[in-house]
């Protein structure tokens, strides 16, 4: 086996391997978007985040504008503290509200931002005031049963 033949084949092999890795990173993974974009951090407190995970998308008007970077717990107010990484090219007013929504019926949870009307924009490190917690299925069912029971009692009282 000539030395030059070996070198050529090894070169082909290594190039192919790197091409494979590049293919995976760019076409398969999400390297193309968001890795080098500038972001700023914004926090928000929620009474309940439901199943929200780190890296969950943050959407406004259905378009992904950022990702959840951290989920924490405030031991004084007993609220969840979620940190968002918002793409720097999107500026939101200070009174923007954040809701935790579910994509589809049983899909992953994401954060929906609804822009407010304030003229002052959010800066890095700001806290969002208006939040709506996630809808928790158990609470819904509990609420439904409670309502049902209340209707039943009203009905009985009504009949009396």
């Amino acid at each position: 086996m000539k030395r030059s033949t070996i070198d050529i084949w090894v070169g082909i092999f290594v190039a192919a391997g790197f091409a494979g890795l590049l293919f995976l990173a760019l076409k398969v993974g999400n390297l193309a978007s968001f890795s080098t974009a500038q972001t700023y951090h914004v926090k928000a407190k929620f009474a309940n985040i439901g199943g929200l995970k780190v890296r969950a998308p943050i959407k406004s008007a259905g378009v992904v504008v950022g990702r959840v970077s951290e989920v924490g717990f405030d031991n004084e107010s007993y609220d969840a503290v979620v940190t968002f990484n918002v793409d720097a090219q999107y500026k939101f007013p200070r009174d923007t509200s954040a809701k935790i929504l579910t994509s589809g019926l049983l899909g992953e949870q994401y954060v929906g931002l609804e822009a407010g009307g304030d003229t002052v924009m959010l800066k890095d490190g700001d806290l969002l005031r208006l939040t709506q917690p996630a809808v928790v299925l158990e609470d819904l069912i509990g609420q439904f049963l409670l309502n049902k029971a209340a209707d039943g009692k009203d009905g009985k009282e009504g009949k009396k």
Binding site: M1, R3, D7, G17, L21, N30, G51, V71
Partner: protein, 272 residues
């Protein structure tokens, strides 16, 4: 001329088991020392990189065909089976996600590792074992050339370098195979296939972890291969036994390490 065997009672059995276990542990310790020795004496393999390149040819390039073909078939099977299950829940368009994540996180590193162990690992063991059996290793020592630096280390580094590249090729081919079946054959929407995949596969968490896994597997498989070869009894049966042990031990090591790494990397849903 054999003496009569002692009566095979429970004590005899327990003694045997204990002896077996202690000899395995002793061997493991020996293998660990050998590993560090190879690392320490890797200077030649890295300075005279031509030696390592030659071994990359024999370990990596010659494994390309089997890796590419297997990757293609595995991807195609994933496409078929995956679609069959997903479309029952109306999620046929998530096929891309299923194929990509399965390959990049698990099947790519693991199956490529198993194939590498049986093709290249056994070849390395046989080669080093035969060199030992035909006294080539001894001749090298006699000529004041360290055989571990000259013969073992280049093969070790060639394996470590080749594994991640082969795993990436396997995953890429597999995704292509899944694409062929899913989009071309079955008719899943091409746009949905790729966009959902891109939305769900994270470069840091999934792809990078897959690469880390393949590097770990590369180290494990090649270490076992060179050790078994170097430690083989210098006879025909010795070399064949060593080759078999390489394949078996490497395969078990890959699966066990895969479990450990998966548990470390992909715990919980929150990634916290």
């Amino acid at each position: 001329m054999s003496e009569p065997m002692p009566p095979a009672g429970p004590r005899h059995w327990v003694e045997n088991l204990g002896h077996h276990i202690t000899s395995k542990i002793w061997r493991l310790g020996f293998a660990a020392r050998f590993f560090f020795y190879v690392l320490l004496h890797s200077g030649t393999a890295l300075r005279r990189f031509g030696l390592t390149i030659r071994e990359i040819y024999f370990a990596g390039v010659l494994s390309m065909i089997i890796i590419l073909v297997s990757g293609l078939f595995v991807g195609m099977v994933l496409g078929l089976q995956g679609y069959d299950t997903l479309q029952r829940y109306g999620s046929g368009e998530a096929l891309g996600v299923l194929v990509a994540l399965s390959l990049v996180r698990e099947l790519g590193p693991v199956v490529a590792g198993l194939l590498f162990a049986s093709r290249a690992g056994s070849a390395i063991t046989a080669e080093i074992g035969l060199m030992k059996a035909t006294e080539q290793i001894a001749a090298m020592e006699m000529m004041a050339v360290d055989p571990i630096a000259r013969v073992v280390a280049p093969r070790f580094w060639a394996g470590v370098i080749s594994m991640p590249l082969l795993a990436a090729l396997f995953s890429a081919m597999g995704i292509f195979g899944g694409y062929l079946i899913g989009v071309r054959l079955i008719g899943v929407d091409e746009g949905a296939f790729w966009s959902q995949m891109q939305a769900s596969v994270d470069v840091r968490n999934d792809i990078l972890n897959g690469v880390i896994k393949s590097v770990v597997f590369g180290v494990a498989v090649t270490w076992i291969a060179v050790f078994e070869g170097y430690d083989a009894t210098p006879t025909a049966e010795g070399v064949s036994g060593a080759t078999t042990r390489t394949v078996v031990t490497s395969s078990l090591a890959i699966l066990a390490l895969d479990f450990v790494l998966t548990a470390l990397m992909f715990t919980g849903g929150n990634g916290q």
